[in-house]
């Protein structure tokens, strides 16, 4: 469903993403982990169209993001690490605005009602975004990503700032999406969550892919059979290991 080939992104002379390739299949949750500065956020921002890659190709549902970007973006939804909404719209207006951008206003009312209830935003639906707390804004970002029924979800640290109920709702949501045959690419520093939630893991460092595969494959490759993702990650990304 999502296919990335030799994706490269420079910031000046710095190579933030170095020819990374992977695919995310329908009904699969792929975890993207790595230390700070590994290139996870840059990769996700390239995939959703906020940044323009300097090299490589991205195919979304068979549509090339460079040549057929409208069709490709229609299938994508992005949850950023730092939610960025228009301060002077209310919660409901922000959701409607996103639905309008994706041309899905017809089913907006029912869908918005469902999401507002699920993410405990119903009481705040007429509050301005500027009046929301950080956690509420993150919930709104998740609701906004879900409003247009995308096929591929790109999540950049989606649980930062969420309360335990919100985190639980999000994890359940991701599992529901998998059941609905949607693809999810989630970048996170919560290694326990990644281990429990993701079907496959990519470990990145300095813009490059160190590993891609399932947890059993990771354990076999590193010869750390009884170890957690956290322990393997720390070993792989230790300064001496690079």
């Amino acid at each position: 469903m999502l296919s990335v080939s030799s994706l490269t992104k420079y910031f000046g002379a710095v190579k933030a993403v170095d020819a990374i390739s992977f695919t995310v299949k329908p009904g699969e949750i792929l975890g993207l982990v790595g230390p700070n500065g590994a290139g996870k956020t840059t990769t996700l921002r390239c995939l959703c169209g906020i940044l323009t890659p300097d090299g490589g190709s991205i195919t979304v549902g068979g549509h090339d993001l460079r040549t057929d970007d409208l069709a490709a973006k229609r299938l994508l939804a992005f949850i950023p690490e730092t939610p960025s909404h228009y301060d002077l719209l209310t919660v409901r207006e922000q959701l409607r605005f996103i639905a309008m951008c994706y041309d899905t206003v017809d089913e907006f009312d029912a869908r918005a009602e469902e999401l507002l209830q699920r993410y405990a935003l119903k009481e705040k639906e007429h509050s301005l975004v500027v009046e929301l707390s950080k956690g509420m804004k993150q919930k709104l970002a998740i609701a906004a990503a879900l409003i247009h029924r995308a096929s591929i979800f790109l999540c950049d640290e989606p649980m930062v700032g969420l309360d335990p109920q919100g985190q639980h709702s999000f994890k359940t949501e991701v599992q529901n999406l998998r059941a609905l045959n949607r693809s999810v690419l989630v970048s996170t520093h919560l290694l326990e969550t990644a281990e429990a939630l993701c079907d496959r893991i990519i470990i990145m460092q300095s813009g490059r892919k160190l590993f891609e595969g399932t947890m059993p494959e990771l354990r076999a490759q590193t010869d750390m059979h009884a170890h957690s993702l956290e322990e393997i990650f720390l070993k792989l990304t230790a300064p001496t290991a690079t």
Binding site: C48, G49, I50, D69, L70, A71, K73, R74, L76, F78, P80, S84, H85, Y86, D87, L88, L89, T90, E93, R96, F97, I98, M100, C101, Y102, D103, L128, S133, K134
Partner: protein, 557 residues
Amino acid sequence: MNPFLYLHIYRIKNAIRRSFKTPVRGFMTVFLIGYFLFVLTLIFALKEHKEKGAFQPFDMHFPLALLTLAHLVPLLYTLPPPKYMHSIFSDTDIANFYQAPMRRWRVFRFFFFTRTFAGYCLFFLIFAFYGNGALRFTIPAIFVHAKNESLVFWNIFYIATVLLALAGLLFWRLILDIRREFKLIPSSLFRVSMSIFLGSIAAIVGYSLVQAYAAGLGFRAGIVNSAESLPLSVLLVPFNVFAQLFLVHADLASASFWIGIAFWIGLATSGYSVLRSHNLLLYDYAFRLAEFRGQMVTRMRSPAQRLKEMHQGGKKVLKLPWFARLMNPRKAWAIFWLDLIITWRSFGTVIKWIQGVLFVAVIAGWAALRFYHVPVKIPIVWSLSSMAMFLASWPLSIVSTFGFSEVLRRVETQKPIPISALHTVTMHILQWTAMTCSVTLVPFFTASVLMGSAGYPILFVLVAGWSFMHSMISAYFLISLYNPDVYDPIQRTYAMFFGLLISTGASIPGGGVLVASLLLHAPLVVVLTLVIVANLASAAVLHYLSARKYAKFVPTE
């Protein structure tokens, strides 16, 4: 509905609704609108006043030529790489629109017109009544042929010229924005073309200057000839119209009016930039401060040694002057100096350069007057300097105090400084007093020295002025602690309004003492001492009240 229209309509609707959410906000909204209308009537009153012939108009050719050429300076801004240029998109626009299935060009087109075209149209609308006379006056070639035409002709002519200028301005803006957003024009090609454009203008100006000097006409004639030559008048049509509007029927009153407006805009902009960069650095500052204090408190090794080790370890460290390293970091005084250094460093290179150039220009100007024995009436220098000091100190102190206290509260909740609330509040008020005075009173004092007037009166103004400013900044600091959202313009405005009231109240003891002492013909030293004591007492009360409020701060997040 189109999502762009939806976004704008609902944002405007919510902004209006929010402006009247509480009686105080409603009052301040009405107050602001009234103030805006008042300023507009002043513009028209100025025009009427001049039409009665009360002022002698200047010779416009040279100022116009200079101003037209000055409009070219921003184009130099296009030469650096695009990452240093402002975008018409905000971060929120990028986050919301770039990922949406919309043509980037469509998004660009909408924001380009709403954010650029709307601003220009508003500008020309305001000057619609004021500007057509300017065009009559400043396009002599057409005026000669059409001076007997009707008013309708001039209005049509005005609209046509404005449209031409608008098209020119939009053209330049389009070039800049397209380059920034789409990178359609290769960087090297763009730089070469802009360099050729600016270079050809420089060549024409240079050629005209050489010819003028050869003919014994001088610099002014050279500049005027170049700006009024056919190539430059065609190349610079939009800038020329802007220049004409700014200098319409120029005389001393309107020129000073525009300089005043530019001064305020410049100060507000630089104040905002300082505030923004300061906000970003303050968290880093709190971290370094805590570390620095930790080193000193443990006294395991000297801070200089520790800094050396950090340098060797490749860490970015804050380089502090020797006197700051020697101070006891448990004391508020050390934090005061550290804060001052950090704030100065956060000003940014451009602002530091602008301030430096202005400072040198002011001093050099006064020195030149004295060196060449230009007869200058001392009272005029005094009144102009006082006016400059007043205009500069208020916006800067208000902007700085508001932003700083808000950020400080947030830093305090994350990394508490182990000194009392009263000390914390006092040291930051002192810091902003020093900062404000350094950019206002220092040029003032230098001027007086250069004019040969240094002495007791200067000392009196200096110290008494500082003490008044200290009590006024203390008042604004107190009010800012009641201002929950520093980024909300309405809250900020009513905080300014009440800040003005309280600062006026805080100045009453000092003012009262000053008036009473002068009436009683007390010696200058006694007057000075009493004024300072009264102001310090007034400020102390405000510090105490600020500390009480500050200690009770509960973060909302």
